[in-house]
């Protein structure tokens, strides 16, 4: 902890000293986020954050930015007396290095900007659900905070030519996605099924990360954007890896003759190419947008080893599959704002047979000069089988009240109500209805 405080103090000192020399600023925020299960009033989320943003430039030719978060997150993990001697276990905290990059404007060429360093690159025109945004890994720690991504060390070059924008990105190293934690850990994975009569005794899993070398961990992406007939349009290409692990090996070892087994699994991050396209504009008075991502994965073999017997199958076919989202928003004369999106294929879904349909909806109304915002209807609905939708659906409803009594202060109170039938992302989380209270103070 002392090292962290020293590190932040040094950063503050460096930037404070630079005030006199250039246009530098330090901003930040304090955030608390607490959640409780409605059913049994147990607390599920306990988070406090201090975020610091350092930003500045000595000239018009460059700009630097960094954001770090000091975060207390989780609950005490005490199992024995000795744990009480560890402050990390009594009061868990972590330092998150979100972004730290340098912008070089007109770098070598008048119309070329380059951004180097750890950065979050978001492509696509949709709201928070962007199938064409694949450069940065998903941060799914908070499963309901769709679209959150982690920063990656990369180089982004953007060249502007009249009405066109050409972007190219290179990411040398691979960073996997952060998966949901706590009670929502199973949100994105189906439970493992064993043949009848087989009982699991022990389970291990192993994640095989790609080697951090040019040919294995590198990712690259390109995008061309323009404006045509009053619509913003772009096409993109990504070469890299899926940031969510894929099961490709299962080893089952019988322990006795009664059907008890030990199981271990291996997971890898498959290579893939993604061709994307997006648009945004207006149709009459309605704002509309859409994006589509055609994914071409490398084929991944699946090995199932039971004792001495090895069975091979396909874990991921190399058949292309397309995820897409289309959405729109509109503000009615009475000030009610409506935002809706239809999504085919969620972040974790792969292959044509695995893509499900989702509908997101948010209706909000502001009062008292934007001090109070009420979201009576918000959330998402999933349908996994339209032929039998009554038994294959799930939803999360997210009503919310946001109150800003003063500048820079935001209080949020809301709930996640989850229900559904069949096996899908939301119905798997059924019974975990939560209420939450969040506070954010910006400075």
């Amino acid at each position: 902890m002392k090292k962290i405080i020293l590190f932040i103090s040094i950063l503050v000192a460096i930037f404070s000293n630079s005030y006199a020399q250039a246009d530098f600023s330090i901003n930040g925020y304090l955030k608390t986020d607490n959640r409780m299960l409605i059913d049994d009033n147990s607390f599920t989320w306990n988070e406090n954050q201090l975020g610091l943003k350092f930003e500045g430039s000595y000239s018009d030719n460059y700009h630097l930015f960094s954001e770090v978060r000091l975060r207390g997150f989780g609950f005490p993990e005490i199992y024995q007396a000795a744990d009480l001697q560890s402050k990390d276990k009594v009061d868990k905290w972590q330092l998150e290095f979100r972004e730290a990059y340098l912008d070089l404007y007109q770098f070598g060429l008048q119309d070329l900007d380059v951004r180097i360093g750890r950065q979050i690159i978001t492509w696509g025109t949709a709201d928070r659900l962007n199938p064409t945004s694949n450069i940065c890994p998903e941060d799914l720690e908070d499963i309901f905070n769709f679209g959150e991504q982690s920063g990656v060390n990369s180089v982004l070059a953007t060249y502007y030519l009249e009405n066109f924008t050409f972007s190219g990105v290179y990411v040398p190293t691979f960073t996997p996605a952060v998966l949901p934690s706590g009670i929502f850990a199973s949100a994105l994975s189906e439970p493992m099924e064993f043949p009848e009569g087989m009982t699991l005794r022990k389970y291990w899993d192993k994640i095989i990360l790609p080697e951090q070398k040019f040919t294995e961990s590198s990712q690259a992406a390109f995008k061309i954007g323009t404006n045509l007939f009053d619509y913003d349009l772009s096409v993109s290409y990504y070469y890299g890896r899926d940031d969510l692990p894929l099961l490709n090996k299962v080893i089952i070892n019988p322990v006795d003759t009664l059907g008890t087994v030990d199981a271990s699994v291996e997971m890898i991050y498959p290579k893939m190419q993604i061709i994307g396209a997006d648009f945004a504009g207006s149709l009459l008075d309605v704002g509309i947008w859409g994006e589509a991502a055609l994914t071409i994965p490398n084929e991944v073999e699946m090995q199932t080893i039971v004792g001495d017997s090895i069975t091979k199958s396909i874990a991921l076919k190399n058949d292309p599959y397309c995820k897409f989202v289309i959405g729109g928003d509109y503000t009615f004369k009475n000030g009610i704002y409506l935002n809706t999106q239809f999504l085919h294929g969620f972040i974790h879904e792969r292959g044509n047979d695995d893509l499900n349909d989702y509908l997101t909806l948010r209706i909000e109304k502001k009062f008292f000069n934007d001090e109070l915002k009420i979201v009576p209807i918000g959330g998402a609905i999933s349908v996994t089988d339209w032929d039998d939708y009554k038994n294959n659906y799930g939803f999360v409803a997210n009503p919310e009240i946001i109150y800003c009594p003063y500048d820079n202060i935001e209080l949020l109170f809301g709930a996640y109500i989850i229900d559904g039938k069949g096996s899908n992302m939301f119905s798997n989380l059924k019974g975990n209805d939560e209420i939450y209270f969040k506070v954010k103070v910006s400075f």
Partner: protein, 248 residues
Amino acid sequence: MKKKAITITMLLILACGSVYAQTHLAEDILKNADAVVNAPQDQEISLKMTLTDKGGNEKIREMKMYQKGDEMRLVRFLSPADQKGVSFLSLPDDIQYIYLPAFNKVRRIASHIKNDNFAGTDFSYDDMSASKYAEEHDATLLEKTDILYILELIPKPGVEKSYSKLKMWVRQDNFYPVKVEFYDKNSTLWKLFESRNIKKHGEYWIASEAEMTDIKKQHSTKMITEKIELDKGLSDKIFTKRNLKRAK
């Protein structure tokens, strides 16, 4: 009988001619008003906005505004902290973009939002664009006082506005619009815009204070010019999506 008919026809022609002349005069006044407000080739302005609610509580916003001609404008928030970096770009052909740093995205503003309040102020996104009243309204001269012209402006057919009409007070000596009343669709007074401290900066007339009051909400936004630089030769590149995302 024939004489009577000729007299009536003459009177009608005179009346129509007078109406035509009045309309023509009103449109000229409006064009002059636009021209005087947008006269500088370009402007770089540091602004302080004070938002006051009906209880007298105040909120402060600081921003920088760049304008070139009468069609390109970029507004960037400097404070408060939770709005720092939020930027708005207005381009010809009614194209508007907003940059929200929290999402790291530039978004096109659809027309349904253009009449919404801009960042909690009493100005709409449309108001934040460079003023082009003559292009979007038909004008009628209601009255001429000793020092002012009073015009009524109705949105031209096909121009969608959240108000039904405007009433504008324009100074006769320099054509600067000093007051505009906004009427809602029920023709009830809704908002009031006033320009104050109108002084000459070089060859241009500039109002260093402006205030928009929402009569219904009893809420006002006062905009004070803290620093203004004119005809600096601002590049067109300032008014681009590329620059919108820039920190400065």
